[in-house]
């Protein structure tokens, strides 16, 4: 009797199998439903006032919404590529700045004993608790009071510039980068560094030729996370920027949806959403193993 019971533990009945499969497919439908709906609406012709039914492929399916998005998604004379380039500059610049400064700071915090270490870590931890919105007012006011006069860029208000937005983003992303990279460095065994130290290598040498290569997965992951949050950053750019040539993808999407539901350009918003989502999603899918590895280890804060 025990044997048959154990067999039943390993071999579920056909009915159980069918029920499990039905449940899994049911869940899959709820997951995919909004995604498929957006795809379907994005294929509708531009003169569609509002979607009038649930069709996988809409009547008169066309790609004209995508063409319109590429050419001129909003009322402003800005193309998708220009918006994407702005988002790319902000996302890439902030990710690069916070990761390169972050890894330098993470090294002594993880490895070296020095005066002020605990204090610095407490400050970083405290700052990490704040959501980005919480520093909006002082950053806006402070950056607004700075007028820059640079050789190539000319005279401009720091607040009303992508540089200002980048500074505001780094204010939150740098503490995160330091903390995440320190968490990862803590998990790397230090025998190699000790050996190098015995051999008389300087701290700079150890950092450059041992720690940096070993921390590469975490650096890539932290950079990627920073890039993604910069790619769709909204609070600061929406608050700071006023010139259409500076606008980002997230700002354009928000502007398109507008306040009045009846005025939603349905196919355009849908096509834009897809084109905004695809680049980071593709990068994620291509580097999935790499990323989850670096994250899982990096998140051990112990």
């Amino acid at each position: 009797m025990t044997t048959s019971k154990r067999r039943s533990f390993r071999e579920p009945s056909l009915l159980t199998k069918i029920l499990l499969q039905v449940a899994a497919i049911g869940i899959l439908i709820t997951v995919l439903f909004p995604i498929i709906w957006v795809f379907s609406v994005s294929l509708s012709p531009l003169n569609l006032i509002r979607p009038d039914g649930l069709n996988l492929i809409p009547k008169d399916a066309t790609l004209e919404a995508y063409l319109q998005v590429i050419e001129r998604p909003t009322g402003n004379p800005v193309s998708f590529l220009e918006l994407a380039f702005n988002s790319m500059k902000i996302a890439g610049g902030t990710a690069l700045a916070s990761v390169s400064l972050g890894v330098l700071a993470a090294y002594p915090l993880s490895r070296l004993a020095f005066r002020g270490r605990t204090f610095i870590m407490l400050v970083i931890l405290g700052v990490l608790m704040l959501p980005a919105v919480a520093t909006l007012a002082p950053l806006f006011v402070t950056l607004n009071s700075i007028k820059l006069d640079l050789p190539i860029l000319g005279t401009f208000n720091l607040r009303n510039s992508q540089l200002g937005v980048g500074i505001a983003i780094v204010s939150g992303s740098l503490p995160f980068a330091i903390w995440n990279l320190k968490g990862y460095l803590d998990t790397i065994p230090r025998e190699l560094e000790e050996a190098a130290s015995v051999d008389g290598a300087s701290q700079m040498r150890i950092f450059r030729s041992i720690v940096l290569p070993l921390a590469l997965p975490a650096i890539a992951v932290t950079g990627f996370l920073g890039f993604i949050s910069g790619w769709t950053e909204f609070y600061y750019s929406w608050m700071f920027l006023t010139q259409p040539r500076d606008f980002t993808l997230a700002m354009a999407l928000s502007a398109m949806t507008g306040t009045y539901a009846s005025a939603i350009p349905w196919p355009l918003v849908s096509a834009f959403s897809i084109m905004l989502t695809l680049p980071p999603a593709i990068v994620y899918l291509l580097s999935q193993r790499f990323i989850t590895g670096g994250l899982a280890v990096g998140s051990v804060k112990g």
Binding site: R6, R10, P12, L20, Q21, A24, I27, V31, F33, P34, W37, V38, P51, G53, L54, L101, L104, A105, Y107, P108, L109, S110, R111, L112, F114, R115, I120, V127, L130, P131, V133, A134, L136, A137, P138, V141, T142, K147, V170, S171, G172, L174, P175, Q203, M204, W231, T232, W238, S254, T257, A261, I264, V269, S273, L276, T277, P280, A281, Y284, L285
Partner: protein, 326 residues
């Protein structure tokens, strides 16, 4: 705890590494926070913004008093309602996320299920979509005239011969509460649905990881000892899930508590500010109302609330010790 390398106490090496980041952080993070604290005791407003404009006046605790006693001169503002709703929003979401996440992880871990890898890969798709796109999409899905949700309800209703006009719900703007004895607007339920869609997959991923770490012979041993399915679920499965799920639940609580995108883009806080969160209110004070000083004080209040929450959750996570910690 890690062992730190002892180096010459007077050595400047650590400071050389950390200095660039600290200088940048001091300017772009710490200084604004201190400035914010100072601002919160003034009446800094639009008039003080222009270059050469007069400095704001010191008003002491006035901003804080106005925030906490709901005396701000903006429509639909009540601090207590905002705070209680925010707590309830986070709690209700996380509870559902965890129950669903664990249930679906159990399904994905069942030996009788085929195509597990395919399901696992597709179930996490919502996580890949930027928050602003998720919020915009769900806002459109819940549109009264053309949204997919009302259309789907109409199609299902047809089966039961209910006329489709019944399902012309104005999800995000309806003023009357759908359930008369629960004081929550319809937009809360719409946002709850959207956030469940967004939230359970990561919970399922974490729970799946924890489930796979359970040694299979434990179940067989329990079965031989005559334990029923429910008993072995309670004693084995839940025991192993807890150390993974409790920290993740706390993390999820904080994330949901501060979830800007849905409250801002989906319902715009409506109707009558009843689905506003503390973070969206903070943003509106600065962005729409240009009440910079009030916004600064509001951010300080928000910081105190988050600090309290993290102190409480720290206690909680220590109280539910890990099974492998002795």
């Amino acid at each position: 705890m890690s062992i730190l390398t002892r180096i010459n106490r007077r050595s400047l090496t650590p400071y050389m590494f950390i200095a660039p980041a600290m200088i940048v952080m001091a300017i772009v993070t710490i200084y604004p926070l201190i400035f914010q604290f100072w601002m919160s005791f003034t009446n800094y407003g639009l008039a003080n913004l222009r270059q050469g404009a007069p400095a704001p006046d010191w008003v002491g605790l006035e901003n804080y008093v106005k925030i906490l006693t709901s005396e701000l001169s903006i429509p639909n503002y009540s601090f207590l309602r905002l705070f209680l709703y925010n707590i309830f929003w986070a709690l209700s979401n996380v509870t559902i996320h965890i129950i669903l996440g664990v249930a679906i992880a159990l399904l994905l871990n069942h030996p009788g299920l085929k195509l597990k890898r395919l399901y696992r890969a597709l179930y996490v798709l919502p996580v890949l979509i930027p928050p602003i796109v998720v919020a915009t999409t769900w806002r459109n899905m819940f549109n009264q005239d053309a949204g997919a949700v009302n259309m789907l309800l109409g199609l299902v209703g047809q089966v039961f011969r209910i006329p489709p006009e019944t399902f012309q719900l104005d999800w995000l703007r309806q003023v009357e509460d759908p359930i008369s004895f629960i004081p929550l607007p319809l937009s809360y339920y719409a946002m709850l649905i959207a956030n469940i869609w967004l939230g359970w997959p990561l919970n399922a991923v974490v729970a799946t990881g924890a489930l796979q770490a359970i040694p299979k012979d434990l179940y067989e041993a329990a079965e031989i000892d005559g334990a029923g399915k429910w008993a072995s679920f309670k004693t084995i499965t839940l025991t192993y899930l807890r150390p993974a799920m409790v920290p993740f639940a706390i993390y999820g609580f904080v994330v949901t508590f501060n979830l800007f995108s849905l409250a801002y883009f989906m319902s715009s806080g409506g109707p009558f500010g009843r689905t506003e969160l503390l973070v969206t209110q903070a943003y509106r004070l600065v962005n729409e109302r240009q009440l910079y000083a009030v916004g600064a004080a509001f951010a300080v209040v928000l910081f105190v609330i988050l600090l309290t929450i993290s102190l409480i959750t720290n206690r909680l996570s220590k109280a539910t010790a890990r099974y492998d910690d002795f």
